[in-house]
Structures are given as C-alpha cells and as structure tokens.
C-alpha cells in the first residue's frame, strides 16, 4: 500500500461520511413531513420553502444550546457514551457497496462486521443510561441491553439464509449473487421478515422503542442529555436506521441493481429510502409493545423461526444440487 492508496481511501471515507451526514440531517425532516401528512398536518413550514431548511435551523439551535451535565453523573462515561454510538453507526458504512465495485472497504466478513458494530452501538445506550444517574435513564439502559441481546441473535440467524444462498459474507458478492433480478427476498421471505422486525428492535424504533418510551420513561436513556450530546444520540439512531435499511437492500433486494435507465447509485438510494419510509409509516401506525411481549416475541417466535429457516434453506439447497 503506497501513499496514493492511502490518500484515495481518505478521500473516499470523507466523501461518503459527509454525504451520509447530510442525508441523516434531512431524513429527519422527511420523517416529520411524512408523519405530519399521515396525520393530516403540515409539519414544519416556516423555515424555507415548506420547511426545507428546518434541519439546518435545528442543528444551529442544538449546537448553541447549553450542555447540561447532571451533578452526580459519571462524567467520563457520560461524555463517551454518545460518541461510541455515533462511531459505531457511521463506521458500519465502510462495508456497504453503493454501486458496482465501490465500497470504502471490501471486507470478506462484511455482514459480520456490521453485526459486530451494531452490538457495540448498544453500549452507547446502556452506558449513557447508567451514567446519567437518573432512574428513567437507568431503566431505559437496562431495557435496551436486554432488547439488543435478544434481537441480535434473531437478526444474525435471519441473515444466515442469505449467506447460505450466496455462499459468501462479502456484501458485494451477495449483490452479485442476486444479478438479473433473482432477489433473495423471494426465497428468503421468512428470513427477510425476521430481519426487518429485528432491525426495528435493534435501532430502537417504534413499535420497539421501549428504551426511550416517552409516555412512561420521559425520554429513556437520553433524558439527561441536552444540546450537542443529545444530537449525537439522535444522529446515531438515524444513522443506524440508514445502515439497517442499506443492509436489508443489499441482502434481500439486489443492492444497486435495477433497470439501466437510472445510474446504480440512484437505484440503491431509492430502495434505501423506500425502507426508511416504511420505518416512518410503522411509527405513525403501530402502538408500542409491552416489554414482556417484546422479549417473548424475540425468544419464543423469532429465534425458532429463524432456525427453521436455516434448516429449510439447507434442505432446499441440497435437493436442488
């Protein structure tokens, strides 16, 4: 590896992260608008045409807000928790192939890398909740740790079917294996259903947003956070949503592939945004789960079904040989 390669990798990384952060900023406006229209409201209208500059106004406001630190909090951990969350979510991007031959790092263990980082991301919520020294935050952190451990297993198992069909854990190879419209969502419909629901739970979205359940825990693990630190948590959540949507597109919906009249990266983004819209749609539609129902669902239904899916995929693969 020479100096040129290193410079090229740095340019790629900075470019992807910068574009990604702009997307994260504006997806928040998309969410507010989408949910507002579902509820027959207008959403943000004041800043710019139909509120398009609202995210910028929000960012400036958050940036200049006072940074409040609770008196008896554990300061080093309180500081480090949101940073862990953002780093874990943003570095997952490194292995996502945006179009043919383009990803920052073409790892052979791509899927495992994303699973590993999503489990590290859970520390942000757990440690943030614990360090705040508040009962609401603490309960949010505890719920999150149990939820993430349970749903991680189901999510990993649901992706095993995809690994078996493509014979690889490299995300680019998985997309290539789905060439000519042979999307894995058809044979792996069970795996996809489990993956999508587990991804909702991993990213703490409705109906599994128990770690921050507003109606009972104020704001869960983020209750004591304010200003930029809270914004980092917020960013980590939306970045996680993007990464999970991108993983779903890559593993089940053929990644960048699509009819030739649009460039591959546009197809990829359109599919990702379709998933993100689905997240918002679910948020506007479904009520929150009860905690014991959530755990029961994860352990008693998803894990057995995901295991059955693996056995079934293996059997079909042997029979078709």
């Amino acid at each position: 590896m020479n100096a040129n390669d290193i410079v090229w990798i740095l340019i790629k990384t900075i470019g992807v992260v910068a574009v990604f952060l702009i997307h994260v900023m504006f997806v928040q406006l998309f969410e507010r608008k989408a949910i507002a229209h579902m509820q027959s409201r207008m959403g943000p209208m004041r800043v710019g045409w139909h509120g398009v500059l609202q995210p910028i106004a929000d960012s400036i406001k958050l940036f200049f807000k006072e940074d409040i630190i609770p008196t008896n909090s554990d300061k080093p951990i309180f500081f480090i928790a949101p940073i862990i969350g953002v780093i874990a979510a943003v570095s997952s991007l490194a292995v996502i192939p945006l179009w043919e031959g383009f990803s920052i790092a073409n790892l052979n263990v791509g899927i495992l890398y994303i699973l590993a980082l999503s489990s590290v991301g859970a520390y942000a919520v757990i440690l943030g909740g614990w360090a705040s020294n508040s009962k609401y935050s603490f309960l949010g952190g505890l719920r999150s740790s149990a939820q993430v451990i349970s749903y991680e297993i189901a999510m990993g198992l649901s992706l095993v079917g995809v690994m078996m069909m493509s014979g690889s854990t490299n995300l680019s190879d998985i997309v290539s294996a789905q060439a000519e419209g042979r999307w894995f969502v058809v044979p792996q419909i069970m795996g996809f259903a489990i993956f999508f629901i587990a991804a909702l739970a991993e990213t703490n979205r409705v109906p599994f947003d128990l770690p921050e359940a507003e109606t009972e825990l104020v704001s869960g693990f983020a209750t004591e956070y304010s200003g930029m630190r809270w914004a980092l948590f917020f960013m980590a959540e939306y970045a996680g949503m993007f990464v999970m949507s991108a993983l779903a597109v890559v593993c089940f919906f053929g990644g960048w592939s699509g009819p030739g009249f649009l460039p591959p990266v546009i197809w990829f983004l359109m599919k990702v945004y379709a998933f993100i819209f689905l997240y918002f749609w679910i948020r506007a539609t479904l009520p929150r789960y009860r905690y014991d129902q959530l755990m029961g669902l994860g352990w008693k239904i998803f894990i057995p079904v995901a295991l059955a899916n693996i056995v079934l995929t293996g059997l079909i693969k042997i029979l078709l040989k």
Binding site: P76, L115, L117, S145, I149, G156
Partner: protein, 171 residues
C-alpha cells in the same frame, strides 16, 4: 522498527495497559469499559494476523454478548457500597512477587524460541485464497466434527441447567 513491529508494539502496550486498568478501577462499570477497549484491541491484533473471521467473532461474541451481560449484572449491584470496600486482600504483595518472578522466567525463555515456518496445508496463502471463514468452517465440520459436537452438547447442558434453576417450583 519495521511497520509490522510498530503495529504489534502498539497493540501489545495498549492491551497490557488496558488489562492493568481493568483490575485497578474502583468502579466496576469503568472496568467493563476498559474491557471493551481490550476486546477491540484483541480483535485488531487478529486482523493484523490475517484472521478477519476470528476478529469479527471476537467482537460479536465477547464485546456484543458476554460483556453486555456483565454490564447488565454490574448495573444491578449496589455500586456505592462496592466502591468503599477494600479492593485487594492483605497478601497482594506476595502475589505480585510471584507474578514478577514468572514474568522474568518468561522473558528468559523467550530468547530461546525459534519460530518454525508454516507447516501442513494451512499456509497463509492457502487461507487467503479461500477466505478464513471457509477454511475454519471446513475444518470444523470435517476433521473436528466430534469435538465440535461435544462442545455443543456441553453448552446445551449448561442452558438446560440454567432453565431448570430459573424455573418456578410448583409444589
């Protein structure tokens, strides 16, 4: 020093420092955080040795599952009381002395080790051409199938044991 040596030196020093931090922290949650750093450094060392599968598994299993469970239990404890309790027993100087003597032996022995070239069919090139995940899978499910299954049964027994312990007794 060459670049690989520099990398290794960084990982070795960082891992030793983090291990020391784990045992000296008063607050168990801080220890867990240092342990997270240690696990990530171990994974980095695996990557450095071309074992990317092992690195990913290290993070998923240790950092993602086991350490979260540690944290879950520690957060339930009464830390305020824990912090005031004396951390070390009275005989710690003796233990430290024995540890230093063993370390000295290790350093003396290290000079006499000769590194053999890679033997057998699993050379670095062979693993690279196939991918480490494929190689591990093949070996695990052919040559070492029986030990692998025995390990699974041991784990199954542990799971059943935990279920039995947690079950409500109905008289």
């Amino acid at each position: 020093m060459t670049t690989p040596q520099l990398f290794f030196a960084y990982f070795a020093v960082a891992m030793t420092a983090l291990s020391l931090l784990i045992v000296t922290r008063k607050n168990p949650v801080h220890s867990v955080l240092c342990m997270l750093g240690l696990f990530i450094h171990i994974a980095g060392l695996y990557l450095f040795l071309n074992a990317e599968f092992l690195a990913a598994i290290q993070i998923i299993v240790y950092a993602g599952a086991i350490l979260v469970l540690f944290l879950f239990v520690i957060m339930m404890l009464n830390l305020r009381k824990e912090e005031t309790v004396k951390k070390y027993q009275a005989q710690w100087p003796v233990s430290a002395g024995i540890g230093i003597i063993l370390a000295a032996f290790l350093v003396l022995i290290l000079g006499n080790i000769t590194v053999l070239p890679a033997l057998g069919e699993y050379s670095i090139e062979a693993i690279k051409s196939e991918g480490s995940m494929m190689t591990v899978g093949k070996v695990l499910y052919t040559e070492f199938l029986l030990p692998f299954e025995i390990a699974s049964i041991v784990l199954l027994v542990a799971i059943i044991g935990a279920v039995v312990l947690a079950k409500k007794r109905t008289e």
